[in-house]
């Protein structure tokens, strides 16, 4: 069953197209991820689906409700973990949760009943009466995650849920996201620019760039699409001409890229053919300096689709998040 369905979703800002005719659906109970660099249109899409922005064109339903005509029903069905920490720093964890619950129309008693279990879930028990400003970045994130779950939404939207966290805190947050999904049956829609995060968490991934949805599939299928098997990187010295030709024709391997002194090939079960590779090198008078065999990552998938890496933007993104925190 599809819990989110979008059709031709488009958002223009002053002639700039942030989201460009995006159509996809999210299945109930899955962890769905949008992967892409900053400015790819991920957050804009989330803002439209959470009724914070109106689309220029197109439509969508969330939990069966139309985002244009049934906004209140959509809002009651969803929880949001935004990119920034939006807790009230001066208030305690408990007070933050109570305020949130009341805004979502919950009865005070119901909120009070849920708080101990939720705080235990994210290992914040015993801290309910501490002011949030005394919390670490990871603790705040965890509190935000249970806050978004307080009113029992069907879907939780998470915009860059681990940006700005240290590796250990990220792991913890991932565990909580998995728990909510598996044990509580919440559908998760997240955006990220971390390859490992998308790979580890998401059941299906949509790759976004420049407002367009380039592909959408499971991580395995996405990797397989860019060529079955492994990637072999070879660093060498000597005349590469004959070597490359032999590798291509003699072994039937697919050359991915070829620069002076470096060759990348894709091969099925490459480890079985390494001896052959060494022999070809000897025959063509080439010395192999380095050799690595690895499985393709989402990074390779992303490069395949966009022709560039996501890393630079990712680094920039972290800096921005840190700056935002300092302000």
């Amino acid at each position: 069953m599809d819990i989110i369905v979008t059709r031709d979703l488009t958002k223009e800002f002053n002639g700039l197209t942030a989201v460009d005719g995006v159509s996809f659906s999210v299945k109930k109970g899955e962890i769905f991820g949008f992967l892409g660099p900053n400015g790819a249109g991920k957050s804009t899409t989330i803002n439209i689906l959470t009724t914070l922005l109106l689309p220029t064109r197109g439509t969508a339903t969330v939990n069966g409700y139309d985002i244009l005509t049934q906004q209140d029903d959509v809002r009651r069905s969803i929880g949001i973990v935004s990119q920034d920490v939006v807790l009230e720093n001066e208030l305690t964890a408990r007070e933050n949760l109570i305020l949130h619950g009341e805004v979502y129309g919950m009865a005070r008693r119901e909120i009070e009943e849920r708080i101990p279990r939720l705080l235990k879930l994210v290992e914040l028990e015993g801290r309910e009466d501490s002011r949030v400003k005394t919390f670490s970045g990871g603790m705040k994130r965890r509190l935000e995650i249970v806050k978004s779950f307080l009113h029992k939404p069907e879907i939780i939207f998470m915009d860059e849920p681990t940006t700005g966290l240290d590796p250990q805190s990220r792991r913890v947050v991932w565990d909580h996201i998995n728990y909510l999904n598996k044990e509580e049956g919440v559908t998760i829609f997240l955006t990220t620019h971390y390859m490992d995060e998308a790979d580890y968490l998401c059941h299906r991934i949509g790759i976004m760039d420049f407002g367009r949805l380039l592909d959408l599939d499971t991580p395995e299928n996405l990797k397989n699409k860019i060529g079955a098997g492994d990637l072999v990187d070879i660093g060498f010295t000597g005349d590469g001409e004959a070597f490359v030709r032999e590798v291509q024709e003699g072994c039937g391997w697919e050359v991915r890229s070829h620069e002076p002194g470096h060759l990348r090939i894709a091969a099925n079960r490459a480890e079985l053919s390494l001896m052959k590779l060494v022999r070809i090198a000897e025959e063509t008078g080439v010395t192999i300096d380095s050799l690595s065999v690895r499985e393709p990552t989402l990074e390779d998938v992303f490069i395949h689709y966009t022709g560039r890496a996501i890393r630079e933007q990712a680094a920039e993104n972290v800096t921005r998040a840190v700056l935002r925190r300092l302000r």
Partner: protein, 381 residues
């Protein structure tokens, strides 16, 4: 309708809860900062008072009475308004149209002519110390000058010693503001100024901070109406301002400032704080919504708040300002708020005067509240 009320209350409660966590800082900020300005600037502003309106009731038209009136007319600081009877003149005093009533009773000239003493009554409104001291000084001076003239004329032709008694005797009767000092005059101004500072800074600041930190967006994504968010935040801001204002009022009363009108007066003052608070929050919200950065907003606030405060009559009476400043003061809403609070505190409740202040303040607040709400709504759309 019920839904908006309930949701407004939730937002209001949220903002108040956050405020209650550290209410001291905003209250101190609203109080101390302006008080510092009083210390720095207040003492430096000396301004001379001009054109003090005074009613003259003349029931004796003898030579001596005319002579005294002549002397009074020579005083340029006084703006003498001839009035036919005492009742009318007293009503003018009550309505703050004049600051004093000079009454020359029948038989005044006769008494002096007989070589005795003529008595003149001066009834005053001393709620504004600078004005009343100038008024009293000039009236007494005129009387003294005329007395001297009479004494000179009475001198025996032989050139014997002059009489020691003054032919003209002034009898002063303080109608309003008995025992008023500068502090009493200043207190209402400070109370209203606290409301203005608190409201002006909290309104726009709320918009900008919430916008920057994304808390507003979270509310926007919740199943709650926009009207409730706007109303709840504005009402919370007004309440917080009133809290600062009440602290200022309590401090003033602890320092011995009199409150002529008792409990009803306190109620009226709080009502005035409420009305003015709405206006200033609205104004500030409108400016905050249009400001791109916090810095821009703060600069705008300084540019607006400071002149508004200095030209409100809170520090020094409007009568001591040059003409163009007085024009600015008449379009300044804080002038009317201060005037009303001062009237309630020092003169008692006189609806004749309060009606205009209330009318102007309410109009100002309704317009500003509408502007603020609309601007707020635009920023979250």
């Amino acid at each position: 309708m019920m839904r908006v009320v309930r949701e407004t209350y939730i937002i209001f409660k949220k903002d108040m809860l956050i405020w209650f966590k550290s209410p001291v800082v905003p209250v101190i900020r609203a109080l101390v900062f302006p008080l510092l300005w009083i210390v720095i600037f207040g003492t430096a502003f000396g301004g001379t008072v001009e054109h003090i309106p005074v009613a003259l009731v003349q029931e004796d038209f003898g030579a001596h009475a005319q002579g005294l009136v002549q002397e009074l007319n020579k005083k340029e600081v006084l703006e003498i308004r001839k009035t036919t009877n005492y009742a009318t003149a007293f009503r003018m005093l009550t309505r703050k149209e004049v600051y004093g009533v000079i009454f020359i009773p029948p038989g005044f000239s006769q008494a002096i002519g007989d070589g005795g003493q003529g008595r003149v009554q001066l009834s005053t409104d001393e709620t504004s110390p600078q004005i009343s001291s100038a008024l009293i000084a000039h009236v007494y001076d005129a009387a003294g000058v005329y007395s001297d003239r009479v004494v000179l004329e009475r001198r025996p032709a032989g050139g014997g010693p002059a009489e020691v008694v003054d032919p003209v005797v002034m009898e002063k009767n303080t109608v309003f503001g008995r025992g008023i000092e500068y502090l009493d005059f200043l207190a209402p101004g400070v109370v209203m100024m606290t409301i203005m500072f608190s409201a002006m800074f909290s309104g726009g600041l709320g918009v900008i901070v919430d916008r920057e930190f994304g808390t507003l967006r979270m509310l926007m994504a919740a199943p709650i109406t926009k009207d409730a968010i706007i109303l709840g935040k504005i009402i919370a801001g007004v309440m917080q301002s009133i809290a600062s204002g009440i602290v200022a009022l309590i401090i003033a009363m602890l320092m011995g400032v009199e409150l002529e009108s008792g409990a009803l007066g306190v109620l009226l003052i709080v009502l005035l704080m409420f009305i003015a608070g709405f206006g200033f929050i609205g104004m500030s919200t409108a400016i905050g919504a249009r400001s791109k950065t916090l810095e821009q907003f703060m600069v705008m606030m300084q540019v607006i708040v400071m002149p508004m405060w200095f030209l409100s009559g809170g520090l020094y009476p409007l009568e001591s300002m040059p003409g163009w400043m007085r024009v600015v003061a008449t379009v300044n809403p804080l002038t009317y708020a201060t005037d009303a609070v001062r009237a309630v505190m020092l003169r008692g409740i006189v609806w004749d005067i309060l009606a205009l202040d209330f009318l102007i303040l309410i109009s100002f607040s309704v317009v500003m509240f509408a502007m603020g709400s609309l601007a707020f709504k635009r920023t979250i759309d």
